[in-house]
């Protein structure tokens, strides 16, 4: 059987050899590696939308290759290397688990630029990018505080890592800025994407009396449950109003496009660099509302005065006037983090392993 297989392969290769090596080289070649198929919602879809913006911006001056459904193991190394070998000049690897594979391949291809979302290790030709997701969650907190009737907010977290915890705390800050009575309870789904588990968590929250739901997981399942049960909630990564037109208040939208475009432009002008941000977890580029890397979808299902206050919070963060983590800050068991007049710096956000006031329970260890 093996011999026959080889024969067929040889035959085929003779047959198709004229079709080889036809790629043009004048354009900037850009590669993307996706964790899943983009679908129509969530993390990878947000990257796909960014890719489409790149295509729109540069048109025929870029040639884009994507590979979807790449597991975060040896396959990632192979796929990234293959993209580099095929002449891609800049490669965006769009999941945390691609960190080591990206670094490994980057060492072998010093002339290719790598952009890793959202890791914390950088080298000369590996830059990292991340979004200040927590800024959107502050605005969510404001809306939740004004809209809740039961004063119970249900929050679904993926994993108890600082990324997610700072989001919960930002939400709590927003919530307490308008409503001191409301509390947040957190259920850990232990997954980034699992509609069944997320739906179960949402049902538990609703059964316990929560009327506003928030999520740091990726599927629209929570909103769909909210829609069925007359509760309200916030979408994640992309606008999810199509899944829950009556339940979505707004969604925090990851807007990678401007970042991609900026980095490709830099490359074309010969000015690509890894950025000069401080060297902490967040990476050299950590953009939020002010750089349009995070945007909010349309405010809906809320009275106009609530929408106005949400808009004001959004504008405040965007202009830098509103500091989300301004002192005095206390943990939910009464320990003081910082006093009045001080603000937490970015490094402190990545060290968060406590809940602020307004959140119930403890961070799992």
């Amino acid at each position: 059987m093996y011999k026959n297989f080889l024969k067929i392969i040889t035959f085929l290769s003779i047959l198709v050899s004229p079709f080889l090596f036809t790629s043009a080289y004048a354009k900037t070649k850009v590669g993307f590696v996706y964790l899943t198929t983009p679908g129509d919602h969530g993390w990878t879809y947000a990257h796909e939308l960014g890719k489409q913006m790149v295509k729109k911006e540069f048109g025929n001056n870029v040639e884009i290759s994507i590979v979807e459904n790449v597991p975060e193991g040896p396959d990632a190394t192979r796929v990234i290397r293959e993209l580099a070998k095929q002449g891609n000049q800049i490669i965006f690897t769009t999941s945390f688990g691609y960190m080591e594979p990206t670094l490994k391949v980057a060492k072998e291809f010093p002339n290719v630029k790598f952009e890793h979302m959202t890791g914390y290790k950088r080298t000369k030709n590996v830059a990292t990018g991340n979004i200040r997701f927590y800024e959107g969650r502050y605005v969510q907190g404001v809306v939740a505080g004004l809209m809740t009737k039961t004063n119970k907010i249900g929050y679904i977290g993926a994993y108890p890592i600082s990324e997610v915890i700072m989001g919960i705390n930002a939400f709590a800050q927003g919530l307490r800025s308008v409503n001191k009575k409301a509390t947040i309870s957190v259920i850990w789904a232990n997954t980034w994407y699992d509609p069944v588990k997320e739906a179960d968590a949402a049902k538990v929250h609703i059964a316990e009396g929560a009327d506003i739901l928030a999520q740091h997981t990726d599927s629209p399942a929570m909103l769909q449950i909210a829609e069925k049960n007359g509760a309200l909630g916030f979408g994640q990564s992309t606008d999810m109003s199509a899944f829950a037109p009556k339940a979505q208040l707004f969604a925090s939208v990851n807007n990678w496009g401007p970042y991609y475009i900026k980095k490709i432009k830099q490359l074309k002008d010969g000015k690509w660099n890894t950025g000069d941000g401080p060297d902490h977890w967040s990476g050299n580029t950590w953009g939020g509302l002010s750089t349009n890397m995070l945007t909010l979808s349309k405010f809906s299902n809320m009275p106009t005065d609530v929408a106005k206050k949400a808009q004001a919070a959004h504008d405040g963060i965007k202009s830098g006037k509103l500091k989300i983590f301004a002192g005095p800050l206390k943990t939910n068991d009464g320990k003081e983090i910082i006093g009045a007049g001080k603000t937490l710096d970015d490094g402190a956000l990545w060290g968060m392993n406590y809940y602020l006031e307004g959140v119930t329970g403890k961070v799992p260890k």
Partner: protein, 358 residues
């Protein structure tokens, strides 16, 4: 009712021709699909079938991808030959990896390969422990091994998840679930070929197949225990008449199969990741079941089957990179290839007739 009667004489002519016809039909229907979706047909076929062989480093990467599938598949031969349905190789892979990895992390400064050697043994034992659970339940209480082994997959997944998030989490990983990096003595290095250098991810662990494959072939075909396994698989009554110990065979085939899955895990993680993470297996244990059957439960067949499956996966990646063909489309290709290969084999071995029921 459709009836399958085994053919008394199996034509060797058709045995050779049936896989060729299967591949031809796959290519034909696949071309139609590409045509319908308006992708360039010839170039698509080239990317899916030929491009994985078009460069030395790509060929090397086929073996990297196939390596865990083949090693697990080789272990599954024992079980499936004896009609014992071990569906939980994935769990045995994970548990073996976890045991060996935890052991390696106990000796952070080790540079000698004694460590790696011990990891192989511990990985084997770990995998065997995990498969001994369905084995004991089957032998003692006659519990269905399919269900037990399958459910233990999820237990193993959650267990490694817990370990990597908790006790073994690297304090420098910013809360992310990653263990510390393995010590040097636990890393399987890439092969530095003379004059060529590194080829893809090709690592020394792959060579273990060269030892395992003939060894298992010899064991199954030329030794008494191998014979006992085959007899148990083809007829329980015959093996009882011959006085073979059914429980003992059942127990040991599951142990060996689980152990080899564990070894596959040790190689995969030591060669490619160098640390524990929540996901160490990407469905290898399940894909290996297909590999074992596609290889007709023959050790050499399993190697070829592993290579075919790996090629299809690599071809799918290349097709998307170069032509933008979504993975779902190339997935259809993979499915068709398997379907026609197995159908061809069935038709060649059995006479199929339709009998009216009365």
């Amino acid at each position: 009712m459709i009836e399958f009667t085994p053919r008394k004489i199996q034509s060797s002519f058709w045995a050779i021709l049936s896989p060729i016809i299967s591949i031809a039909i796959t290519i034909f229907i696949g071309s139609l699909i590409f045509k319908m979706l308006s992708y360039p047909v010839m170039e698509s076929l080239y990317q899916v079938f030929v491009s994985p062989f078009s460069r030395p480093d790509r060929i090397a990467d086929i073996f990297v991808k196939a390596c865990p599938l083949i090693i697990i598949g080789l272990g599954l031969i024992f079980c499936f030959k004896a009609n014992i349905w071990n569906i939980g190789a994935e769990g045995q892979f994970i548990f073996g990896t976890l045991c060996a990895g935890s052991f390696a992390l106990l000796f952070p400064e080790t540079k000698t390969y004694t460590l790696l050697f011990s990891m192989f043994i511990i990985g084997f034992i770990g995998g065997a422990i995990w498969s001994s659970i369905p084995a004991i339940l089957k032998v003692r209480l006659n519990v269905n091994e399919i269900l037990v082994s399958l459910m233990l997959v999820y237990v193993a997944m959650l267990f490694i998840d817990f370990i990597v998030r908790g006790p073994l989490r690297d304090p420098m990983s910013f809360g992310f679930p990653l263990s510390k990096v393995y010590p040097d003595g636990a890393i399987i290095s890439k092969v530095d070929f003379p004059f060529i250098g590194f080829l893809g991810q090709f690592h020394y662990g792959i060579f273990i197949i060269l030892i395992l494959c003939p060894l298992i072939g010899f064991f199954i075909n030329k030794t008494l225990p191998g014979f006992q396994i085959k007899i148990l698989g083809s007829s329980i009554r015959a093996s009882e008449f011959a006085g073979f110990n059914k429980n003992k065979i059942t127990f040991y085939v599951l142990l060996v199969s689980g152990g080899l899955s564990g070894v596959a895990g040790v190689i995969e993680v030591s060669a490619n990741m160098g640390r524990l993470q929540p996901e160490v297996s990407f469905g290898y244990g399940f894909t290996a079941i297909i590999v074992a059957f596609l290889g007709r439960l023959n050790p050499y067949g399993v190697v070829i089957a592993g290579i075919i499956i790996a090629t299809a996966k690599l071809g799918a990646d290349n097709a998307q990179m170069v032509l933008g063909i979504p993975k779902v489309v190339t997935g259809i290709f993979e499915g068709m290839l398997l379907f026609f290969l197995l159908a061809g084999e069935t038709i060649q071995k059995y006479k199929i007739s339709i009998r009216k029921e009365n």
